[in-house]
């Protein structure tokens, strides 16, 4: 079963990008970006997972107990924080774009080209 998280990660990455490429709505597009992002969560957690090991919290288990890799979990949390910032900023920009132009379709903004 070790390949499953990697297959899921690849699937999420590809389907998220497909969503972005075919998107007709900014909110949809930004959520698709979050889908791509979640593929990196799955990948990171999949890398750190070891079958049958404990969670890396040594409050109630003796030190030295085999545990899953805590570093990737810390990386994933950092990743979440970073992504929330970017998503919030993107959504704010999308809201603002809708207020100013009345459009939410990334194909129709068309202010800059050439």
């Amino acid at each position: 079963m070790t390949w499953l998280p990697y297959a899921v990660a690849i699937w999420l990455f590809v389907i998220g990008l497909y969503g972005i490429v075919t998107s007709r709505h900014f909110v949809h597009l930004i959520i698709c970006l979050s889908v791509v992002q979640s593929s990196t969560y799955v990948l990171l957690l999949g890398i750190g997972y070891r079958a049958g090991r404990a969670a890396p919290v040594f409050a109630d288990i003796p030190p030295g107990t085999p545990a899953v890799d805590p570093i990737v979990q810390a990386l994933m949390l950092t990743d979440v924080v970073v992504e929330v910032t970017v998503t919030a900023l993107l959504l704010a920009l999308a809201v603002q774009a809708h207020e100013r132009t009345g459009k939410l379709d990334p194909n129709e903004l068309g202010i800059i080209r050439g």
Binding site: I20, V21, I30, L75, V82, Q96, A97, I112, G114
Partner: protein, 602 residues
Amino acid sequence: MLTPPIPVVLPLLIAALLAAMPRMPRWLAFLLAILTTLTVGCVAIALLNYTREEPLIVYWFGGWTTRYGIAPGIGFAIDTAGAMLVLLGSILTTASLIFSSRYFDTVGTLYHSLMLIFFAAMNGFAMTGDLFNLFVFFELMSAAAYALCGYKSEEPGPLQGALNFAVTNTVGAFLVLTGISLLYSRTGALNLAQIGRSLQDQGADALVVTAFALIVCGFSIKGALVPFHFWLADAHAVAPAPVCVLFSGVMVELGLYAVVRVYWTIFSGPLTPHASEVRVLLATLGALTAITGAVMCYAQRHLKRLLAFSTISHMGILMLGVALLTPQALAGVEIYVVGHAMLKGGLFLAAGILLHRAATLDEIQLARHPRHMYFVAVLMIAGAAGLAGAPPFGTFWGDMMIGGAAHGLRNEWVEWIAFAASAATAGALFRFTARAFFGWGPKVELIGEPGSKISENPDTETGHRHTPPAMYLPAGALILLGLVAGLTPRLTGAALASAIHVQDRAGYAARMLDHLAPYPPAVEDQPLMAGDLLRGGAALLVALALAGFTLRAHRVVRAGKLRPAVRWLRELHSGVIPDYVTWVMVGTATFAAAAVIWLRSY
């Protein structure tokens, strides 16, 4: 030694302070921000000075140093190149803040705050020795940049530019992060030196090569290499001029810096047997970028967009220099980055002054009522001459060393592409200056000329009568620095020494992990040849000829039989995010496939 964290920590603290005090008087906010960047500049000079004795300054946060060659903590590793980038960022941010103090009619402390966060993140990016830390600073830098790009959020143009910028670069960040995850899964390490050391004895298998492709492509989005470059022109066209200075001068170059750093600390080991294939792959990216950027630059009539495509073209030249993989070429790249940053910064500030006075940056509108602003015109001409690589600008020395390395490898075509690209971008700038400031050439018929379509309101209300000294002094100073950079004594030798250290993977690892410090080698200056001077002069003449040739026509640009090709190329730059992301996917898939086929050892 407590100095290394200052360039990151100090601006972040002041940024928080400024964000918490929105009612601070405008002059005080600018004074605080400028003092911060000046302090960091002094720290950068101190660090730079120190790297002459100790080529890699290592600083471990919280005192978590290495044991038995394993790095449990996060460390900064500052070499001459990194310290130079911090200094460069300090100079450009200071100039940009001084300019901003009179440029905007209204500006809140949020602007200063964002500028300082952006600045801090760029410094951290240039100094870190940890792969994940690199990613975090990359994201922090990007987030601040998106917000700065869309700073004039009441207009649709900046919003579209910021959205294009943000979505494409976020996809790039995910590519990088996926690459980092793959490397961690193989090595269990995040420290650059430690990853490099654990990979050096193994060949490159599919996983390492895929990680290489993902990281290079991800950072190439920030570095605006074709076909990952689309966001750059959109972002630059609409971002405020003082922000463009930082985008073009440092941020984009940092994308390339990351490729360089990661290649020579990690991948140069496992990819040693395939150096010539790596060279072909990277040089292809560089050549495509230099040519596309030059053609698109020549075809623009909006000044900031024209300068943006010139940046893309020059990034291509820089990538060609990196792709040669020799210390001499990399030294050329380092000098070129500094020279280009000063000139491009000065040119964007000149564009800001023009917008401030004339309320438009459109070549044709300006040509109808040419502005006789001779100081700005002189800046533009000097900047264009510098972009052409005329001696003695900093770019000339960079060109010379990249060209010399290309000769040594019997890859003279690199030199020719760099020559053509710099002449074309400078020619476009000469043409713009002649029309907009002097009204030269016949009146252009606009029929059938699509032109770059940008609706832009000036950052100020209407045209102003006067330009305050706080605006033209930084612009002039930056162009002058671009000239002075080329007159620095022992320039080529110092750059060569720095490049040798950047490419010394074993030395980097020994300094970072084992605290060993072999004595840095002494390096001679590269002698100046008459042929190099001739080439710099020739590029300038070709640029002038190109401008003259176009000015005689009744069209914005003259493309002759190439017109359909140019039009097709322009239509690719559609301003639509789904198109851009498609290009990112195509580019990454192609690069990764080529890498896996060519670079895999087994």
